[in-house]
Structure formats: C-alpha cells, structure tokens
Amino acid sequence: MSSAPGDIVRFDNVGLRYGTDREVLSDVSFTLYPGSFYFLTGASGAGKTSLLKLLYLAQRPSRGVVSMFGTDTVTLPRSRLPGFRRRIGVVFQDFRLVPHLSAYDNVALPLRVSGVREDDLHMPVSDMLDWVGLSERAQARPASLSGGEQQRVAIARAVIGRPELLVADEPTGNVDPEMALKLLRLFDSLNRLGTTVVVATHDVHLLRKVPESLIMRLDKGRLSDPTGALRYPPRREPVPGSQAVP
C-alpha cells in the first residue's frame, strides 16, 4: 500500500511491540497531510515516543503498513532508508547533539551527510544559527550551552535540511515556559513554509498556541480519533479555543 496523493504519512492498523512484550502501539491508523501542524499528546508511557520512532524511521512496526512520501517504508530495503530520513527532521527530547562538535558543526552535520560542499554550507549554517539566536555561540560545545540553547541547536539541525516532515519529541520538556513559547514559534514559522510538523507534548497549554493544529491523542498505545479527522480529515480543523502564537 502507498500513500494517497496529497498525504505525506499514512499509518494503517499499525502495531508495535518490543520483543515478546505486549504491544506498545495497537491498531494505529492516521494520515498526515503536507503543511499541517499536529500535536501528539498522551500520558507518559502512552506510546508517544514509539510512534515518533516509527515516524522518523528509527523503528519498523511489528504489523500494519507505514507509508511515507508515497512509499511503503515497512518493506523498503534498508539501503534506501537514508534517502527517506534526509526528508525528515527530528528534534529529540534529550537533544542528542554530538558532544564533541561545536554548535556550528552540529547544525552543519545534515548538510555534510547529504554531500554539500564546505564552501556551500557556511552561509546556510550561519543564517540558521542566527535565526535561532545563537550566532554568538557558534563555536560553543553543547556542554557549555544551556538547555534552551541546546534545544535551539537541535531545532536548527533538524530544519536546515529543509525537511518535509519535522518530528519533535517533547521539545519543550526541558525548557522554561518562555523558552517553550519561543521554540513553538520556530516550529510554527517553519510550518508556515510548508513543512508538516508533529510535536509530541504533554503540555496542554501549548495546544492552544497554534491555530489550525490537529491533536493526536494516544492512550495506552491506541490513537483516539473519535471523529475520524486524523484518518480522513475533511479539512484542517482548528484546535478549539486555540489562539495564534503571539
């Protein structure tokens, strides 16, 4: 099965179990559309991180179909996964910056992996660091950066490759509310440029900050989609009571 025209990700009856344990995700079905903004919510242990792992191709499902960018990634040969991963930006909860590389080199890493020449990557990396407000800290190692600064480096690294899909796992979990709002603005501005954004969070206050966002709620490994809006969204529905990011 492949994605229908116009969708970027399609999950169909996806289940995931680790080893012989019970399924951490069961019968998950949904569709993500280009340019949409999704919040993935749920209690701790609901399966948010597992679902994100499937989205950024760090894991294959135990059953079901996952198609991304029009291709079934479950049966995709391993050798073709890097090409798909380059179309996905990931922001990890624990940042996962390379500790011995500077902020500049961490942000430049996706471009280097993609084969961009050194001469050609200086400007985009510098611009990106400027955008996240870290021009002055370009040569700083992650250990000398604050939590918020590390998160911004991680975001810059995730988006510099112009991903079609941005996945963020609790990106505001380790920062103060003010920084959380700033980070959300970054995601929102990226989304306005056409990138599909999926943000996993348990911070209900954030949900109201992005108008037109859709909410995916996981409960004990099952996706609640009572109206079918996630699987068959008729049109983008704004989050009730949402207000634009100031």
Binding site: R85, H100, P110, S114
Partner: protein
C-alpha cells in the same frame, strides 16, 4: 517571528562524499589508538620474519635441488688399491663416453682424506683403513632411475666394485624436512594474518560501541552505512600504516641480524638460503597487505554491526 532562513531545495544535497577530516572528527574515538598500532607492528614484524624464513628456505631448497639434480656419485669399494685404481680408470673412461654424462671428475685421494679427517684423523694410511675411490659425475639431465640403471649396467662390466647413487637421494630427507619448515612458515604467515584481522575486529567493534550514540544520530540524519564505515576505515588505515611501518623496520632489522649470523656459518647449503631482490619486494609488500587486511576487516566489521541497527 521572522521566517527561517531555509536554504534552497537544491542546496541541501550535494555530491561530495562525507569523508576526510570533517567526517573523522565526528567519531574521534574511532582511532584504534592505545596499543593497537603496536599490536599491528608486532604482527607485521613476526610476519616479515616468518615470510623471510620461508623465502630463504625455499631458495635454499631450489638452489640445492638445482645443484644436485644431475649429480651422481660413483664409489669403487675395493680393498686392493691397484685393482681399485684400475676400476676407477675403466669406469671413468666408460662414463665419459656416455651421452647422458656432462662431466666426470675423479675425486683426488687428498680431497678424500680431507673429507674423512674429522672422523679418522690426519695421516691415516690407505692400507690401514681402505677408503673407496669416488667419481663425481654431472649428468646433462636429472639423475632419473632409468639413467642410473643404464649406467649401473655399463659399470658392472668394467668395474664390478662400483656403486652408483644419485646425490639428490642422499639429501631427500633433508629436503623433506626443509619443505615441512616451509609449510610451517606459510602457516605462520596465515595465522598471523588471521590474528591481526581478529585484533582489528575486536578493536573496531569496541570503537563502534564507544561511538554508538553519535553513529545513531548520523544514521537518523540520513547517513549511510558506507559513510560511517569509511570514517572507521580511515582511522584503521592510519593506525595500520603506522604499525606496518614500525613492524617492517623491526622485521627487517631481525632478518639482517639473523642473516649476518648465518653468513658466519661456513656451509655451502646455508649459503644458498639468501634472499633475492624479488624476495625483498615481497617482504616490503607485507605491511601493505597488513593495511589492506586491517581496512577490509574494519569495513566488514562495521558494516555487519550497522546492519543490526535499522
């Protein structure tokens, strides 16, 4: 919030390989480091010594075989000196006329006495201990059984006391022993190569384990197995080249030292065990092969380990 300064679509992919120092800095601990270059150096030194020993033995056997291939000794075992001398003359005359014989030399009595002096002492009278007369023959071809049989037939008529033996037959057991040593040297070279590969395998797995979080990140950013393997290959190549150069120097020093020791042994056979220029080239290639084995082992090890990740 201003727009993110995203690069143009075409600017985020290139055709330049992710390699070199930029790639190497990603996993600084990929260097085998520590004792690994020295382990490789010792392996290469031992391999060079074993290979040199094998090559020298091979040369020794080849030279000796070439020397003795057409060599035949005729002994005239006759107690009566006048009769012995008469048989020697007749036998020499018959042998000189045979088409298979290239050269005939009657070994002088003085030479015989010198040969036997270590056992019998100096000034032993022939009458007291009768010694056989010797004729040294050089055949045009090898001393095969048919030729020897034919010559024995001819000698039987003119020198009934004659005994004829191929010189190569006497040294058969020696050649056999040397050939065994040759195989031993070859086995040692193979074992050392396998051991070196195993050492690199262990070190590469350890280096991979130490850098696993970074490698996972590179994977998730779209890095390919080959890109990651190249980083480790590069480091392993540096270490193996360093170890190989040191090992070659150590091995050559040991060979030269041993060569000097054996040169003092005044023996015709040992003198045939030198190394030719082609042999030195082969020895110089040992560290290159070592680097090749190390790099290939590192690549296969890393790729096999990466295949277990998604």
């Amino acid at each position: 919030m201003r727009k993110p300064p995203l690069p143009a679509k075409g600017a985020v992919t290139g055709n330049k390989r992710f390699r070199g120092t930029r790639a190497a800095q990603l996993v600084p601990d990929a260097r085998l480091a520590g004792p690994m270059p020295w382990v490789i150096a010792i392996m290469i030194a031992l391999t060079v010594i074993a290979a040199a020993g094998g090559l020298a033995l091979s040369n020794l056997v080849s030279d000796a075989r070439a020397d003795l291939a057409g060599g035949v000794t005729v002994q005239i075992v006759e107690a009566s000196a006048p009769e012995r001398d008469a048989q020697v003359r007749r036998a020499a005359r018959v042998l000189e006329q045979d088409s298979a014989v290239r050269a005939v030399r009657i070994v002088p009595e003085a030479e015989l006495e010198a040969l036997l002096e270590p056992w019998l002492g100096a000034g032993v009278q022939n009458e007291a201990v009768p010694m056989p007369a010797l004729i040294d023959l050089r055949l045009r071809g090898s001393a095969d059984a048919a030729t020897l049989q034919r010559l024995r037939g001819k000698l039987r008529e003119v020198a009934p006391a004659a005994r004829l033996d191929a010189q190569s037959a006497w040294l058969g057991p020696v050649f056999s022993a040397i050939t065994s040593l040759l195989w031993l040297a070859a086995a040692l070279v193979v074992l050392l190569a396998v051991t070196s590969a195993a050492a690199v395998w262990l070190a590469a797995r350890s280096a991979l384990g130490g850098n696993r979080p970074t490698i996972e990140i590179v994977h998730l950013l779209g890095g390919t197995d080959s890109q990651i393997a190249r980083i480790f290959q590069r480091s392993v190549a540096f270490d193996a080249m360093l170890g190989g150069a040191v090992g070659l120097l150590l091995g050559l020093a040991a060979i030269l030292l041993l060569g000097q020791q054996f040169a003092r042994v005044d023996s015709g056979m040992v003198a045939g065990g030198g190394l030719h220029w082609q042999d030195w080239l082969l020895l110089a290639a040992v560290p290159l092969c070592g680097v090749g084995i190390a790099v290939l082992t590192a690549r296969l090890t890393i790729l096999a380990a990466l295949r277990r990740m998604l």
